[in-house]
Amino acid sequence: MTGDTSTNSPKRPDGPGASKSFSRMEAAAPAGAPRNRAKTVHKIMTPELVTPNSQPLLEEPASHGEQKADVFEKTNPQDSTEEANTDQLDLQSQTLPDKFIESLSARVYSTPPNIDQLSELFQEFYVRAATPIGTHISTLASRLNRQPSPSPSRSQTAPQPKRGLSSQSLEKPTVNQQMLTATEVAEKRKARKLLQYKQLALEEAVERRACESVYEKVWRHRSTLDEVRDEKLRSKTAALAVVGITMKDLGIDIGTPATESETEESDWLSEARQSLIQMNDEKFPLGKLQHLIAAHKAIVDSLTKILPSSSSADEILPILIYTLITTPPEGINIISNLLFVQRFRSSSKVDGEAAYCLTNLEAAISFLENVDLASLRGEDIDGVAAKSPSGTSSPLPIRQTGRSRSVSPSAPLSSTLAGQKSEPTVKLSTPITSKGNSSHEPSPQQRLTSLFQPPAKALGAANDAVRSTADQGLKNISNTLDNSFKFLFGRLKEVQMSHGGVEGGSGVPIVPKTLDDARRLVNRPAMLDDGSNASDDGSSKDSSNYISQSLSRFNQGDRLIGLIGGRNPSNDRLRESSTDGKAAAASATSTPGVSTPNAAFGSMRSFGNSLNPLNHIPGMIRGLGRAPSEVPSSTAPPPTTSTQAPLSSKLAVSSTSKDAVDSSDSVTFRPPIKRFLDIQDPAELKLGDIPELLEDYKRLALMLGHFGVS
């Protein structure tokens, strides 16, 4: 429709009805058409080009006629022919897909087509649709080639670029028309380029129309599991976010200090996140793809700011993964989007950068779908196991092995989880007493197992809670953390005070026999109103009842533990994630900053002591006594000495070595680590902090127990 404007006009009275082929045949018309005519044509074109009319030309012919009918009678038919051509094309780009869609619904299938068949049909259709478009474009191109004066053709070739070029085309032709100048040749070339663009644009339009018209049906087609996969991925990324995966875990070491870079990261990745989320908004493949590419671009752009020299796949892929993890799970349907593009994007157009971005996304998703903490930190866990003193009875390594076992579906606890549709990323630390860990005598080992079983249940419950409430939990976690530490601390003070008051009196502190006890004590406030603590209070006064007391208390403990899961999931999640964190952080082979060996070892010792039934009481004291000596600090409170008397009487009952007691004259303790109290947002919590946090938590729990908080 393009090239022939000026020359053909006189020969074409057929007006809007002119077919493409017709005009094409005429394109061969003598090039010697009067030049002044060409000029007039241009003048006529001017208003049309400048006005916004250049978009849909449907109603144009009429207006044209009205405007120019009087003077430029002859040019009208020609103009409208072109417009008709454009219309035809535009129409074509609509009717083709429409027909295709019709055929889709009309066709009779024995079974509804599944997504792969649909995708195939679409791909076939794209190829088919490309043919008429291609024909049409080549028609235009050949016409263009024969066209002596490129200017008119140029101005009319492609509807989209028309406007930008219009001013040029208006001025130049008048000057250059006499001869084929270099400029004209260049313009011709440009025109050809424009034709190519137009072809592309048309093909895109066809694709877009086809996809948008059935978007609701093919997006997450019912024969697919896209939505389920997305759901899984969301819970997985949420879990990874809770655990606090860092760039480092993904294999990127960004040189800047952790604190700085973290805040920066979240800023500079926000654009990429936005782009990923926006993929939802588009209802056609190209649109989604463009957002994906924009996300990549955003990643690269921000990367260049941080690491000026490099933006290779070594960084881009991990950051894409990290972006996916840190993107709020709501509203992200990345898998559905990816698959939609893969299925319905014309395969001939998936190449180059787009193909690379798609592959990158696919790889990132595949990584996230298959990763679990054990493999992400596989080396790390091994590192811990190696570091932990082999001879000692260290519950932590046991838990870690348990955890890595739970990854396999055969592990009892995780199997229940695996049955559910979302794979838990935060794998539970299944407390399996490792047989290889023979340092315990049989009986303590049994004891150990029995001790750990209840918390395991609680953790199981908590794990469920993690998955279901991962999002909200994220927000709660910091508060809980904060509160629980504040409570601990406050409680401690209170006890201290009361002891100071009743020194030498009957207030006998309860020594927690187990970690359970300690934990129970921590959770006690929740029970205060139940009146269930009455017996405990009584018990603490009568040391002769000690054993029976502890029995009853144990039962009570079970109940409490049951409650923990329901009442305070985030609290448990904290513990849980801290075990995970410990596993990872303790080892981070390349992290010199983490003082984990000490921390881990310290907590192991106190742990171990608290577990041994024979000497747990002196052990407790020893544990308390030692910790301060290692870290000299703090408020050595006078009341501690007062506990000595009641304690030793108890010790006599339980017939443990008095030497141990003697060795622990001074029980000092430190306040909770202030840094953690100040933390407002769990995001501020580093992975490396978790071991420390856990240890401190336990330490405080022990101290609480020591002072008989009940």
């Binding site: 993904l250 294999g251 590419i293 990549h296 671009k297 990643i299 690269v300 990367l303 260049t304 020299s309 490099s310 933006s311 290779s312 796949a313 070594d314 881009i316 892929l317 991990p318 190449d351 180059g352 950068e353 193909a355 690379y356 971005c357 592959t359 990158n360 696919e362 790889a363 595949s366 990584f367 298959n370 493999s375 992400l376």
Partner: protein, 202 residues
């Protein structure tokens, strides 16, 4: 990836940086233009399982190691084996490239920045008639195999990079050439110590 980005002016960078590049090579004797699409893959071990996604449909793969790191050479050989075994394209053209030639080349004063750890002979054999076999020469012995290409390059100075890509372009069968005489590639190149790979997607 200084390799391409800073020092390779004729590599055209895409909007997404050095991870995806295009490079066109003209072969005068065949009157053909080969367009490489160079895909970078993440070289870290933990992402290794994802690599097949990148090299599927690739017509060639460039495995790059650091000649100042014996470790990277070992890993590069693993990559070669993997490509040989797992690539969907049985005729995939593999190029093994020892990079950082500039580091081990002595300057005027005879000082090199790094010690070469992988000898050329070790890889490519020595002697005029290949008396002493190297990894590549041995690898290329079976007649039914697509011979591996070997080059030592410096990404920094650009030394041998163009010959490398020309050689790859020449070695690719012409029937893969598309209608416009263009074709794309993926290739893989290394992060510093670990070999990464890149391939050419057609």
């Amino acid at each position: 990836m200084k390799f391409v980005k800073d020092d390779f002016k004729d590599f055209k960078e895409s909007t997404i940086g050095a991870a995806f590049l295009t490079q066109t090579v003209f072969l005068p004797e065949k009157n053909t233009t080969v367009k490489f699409e160079i895909w970078d893959t993440a070289g870290q071990e933990r992402y290794r399982s994802l690599a097949p996604m990148y090299y599927r449909n690739a017509s060639c793969a460039v495995v790059v190691y650091d000649i100042s790191s014996a470790d990277s050479y070992i890993k590069a050989k693993e990559w070669v084996d993997e490509l040989r075994l797992k690539s969907s394209n049985e005729k995939i053209q593999i190029a093994l490239v020892g990079n950082k030639l500039d580091l081990v080349t002595p300057d005027k004063d005879g000082h090199a920045l790094a010690q070469r750890q992988v000898k050329t002979e070790e890889v490519n054999g020595s002697g005029k008639d290949g008396e002493k076999k190297g990894y590549v020469t041995e690898y290329n012995e079976p007649s039914d195999i697509v011979p591996m290409i070997f080059y030592e390059t410096s990404a920094k100075s650009g030394e041998n990079v163009h010959p490398l890509f020309t050689k790859i372009a020449e070695s690719l069968p012409l029937d893969q050439v598309g209608p416009r005489g263009q074709r794309n590639h993926l290739d893989l190149r290394p992060e510093t110590p670990s070999p990464s790979t890149s391939g050419c997607a057609c």
